[in-house]
Subunit: 209 residues, 2 copies
């Protein structure tokens, strides 16, 4: 039995640095991880390539994918659909890659329902002041937007308890190695279970009474 990859959902407060963590994980361990590519019904922007940033779909195609159960999760933002195509994720996992989905909590819980074996990780800041500092330092958002994001973070705290692991992103390198260690442990746990299941199935089928 070849080693299959696992499905990892990474969520976290806006500004916590989860994007940087994911990017670094993919850069350092390109053989271990693959980033899930979303499908969207919005039009491609200049420089965006089919199958790189997104799989671009018409609105009808997207609705058909929902109906056919071909999405692990989906949502509508500003009149456009976004979602995670199951096929792409499964093919990457079959190639032995751990597939990372960087998505919102609502999407994460949808994935959990469709794919109970997925691991849900939530990245948090050491404290609220530090989260605010990071959002302000970025310098890309107005104060109103930052207030909105902090407000949403407060709402998101209702969902953290549904996640498997909570990782504190205080020191970046520490968090990155903890992230990788957590994933490796989960992979080894799942491998162990699958290995046992194969073994006991064979034994039960061949048992002589």
């Amino acid at each position: 039995m070849d080693k299959k990859g696992i499905l990892i959902v990474i969520s976290g407060f806006s500004g916590v640095g989860k994007g940087t963590l994911v990017k670094e994980l993919l850069t350092r361990y390109p053989d271990e991880y693959a980033l899930s590519i979303s499908a969207t019904s919005r039009a491609p922007r200049e420089n965006e390539e089919e199958g790189r940033e997104y799989f671009f779909k018409s609105r009808e195609e997207f609705l058909e994918m929902i109906d056919a159960g071909r999405l692990l999760e989906h949502a509508e933002y500003n009149g456009n659909f976004y979602g995670t195509p199951k096929d792409y994720v499964l093919s990457q996992m079959n190639e032995g890659k751990n597939v990372i989905l960087e998505i919102e909590v609502q999407g994460g819980l949808q994935v959990r329902k469709q794919f109970p074996e997925s691991m849900l990780l939530y990245i948090v800041p050491p404290d609220a002041k530090e989260l605010l500092r990071r959002l302000v330092t970025r310098g890309t958002e107005t104060l109103d937007v930052i207030k909105e994001r902090m407000e949403r973070s407060l709402q998101e705290t209702d969902y953290i308890c549904y996640y498997d692991r909570v990782l504190v992103n205080d020191d970046f390198e520490t968090c990155l190695s903890e992230l990788r260690r957590t994933i490796l442990e989960e992979q080894s746990r799942i491998d162990g279970i699958h290995h046992y299941i194969e073994k006991i199935r064979t034994e039960l089928r061949n048992l002589e009474f």
Copy 2:
């Protein structure tokens, strides 16, 4: 914040010895654990006491409990309903007890849906021969019944992957301490998350811009 108990589902192949493990856990650590008491629509047998073996309900009362969402899981066997009342489980957890549900895989998966924070443990034998040996040694079942159970064990292997932990019951004492250690670890994980959530909520609410 007082320490709350967690919800633990224990399932496993017929004959694996999960009942003995649960009984021993409750006997040795009566302050830590409580066994969930099921509701049933079947008539009480002699010596059975309301609230000890079961909560006895009429068929209508049971159906009302289902409709009102007052059961964590339920199933029908031989024309009688059996299920896990939510109220009893929650009140025991609030008193700090870890509540154990010894139920079938189908029930376990129902609990997971309604209560994502529950921990699902599956107890397995070291191998199929040993499972057969235990069923035969018990001496309470005919060979036909034993064959049926082994057949069901094979079917159940489809569901093991949805469980959080798989524990091998080879040496009883080793398995018992691993069981307890696993529960303590999970409790400490959940405590840590709840503690963090309380802390960050307070901080986010009181943040000055």
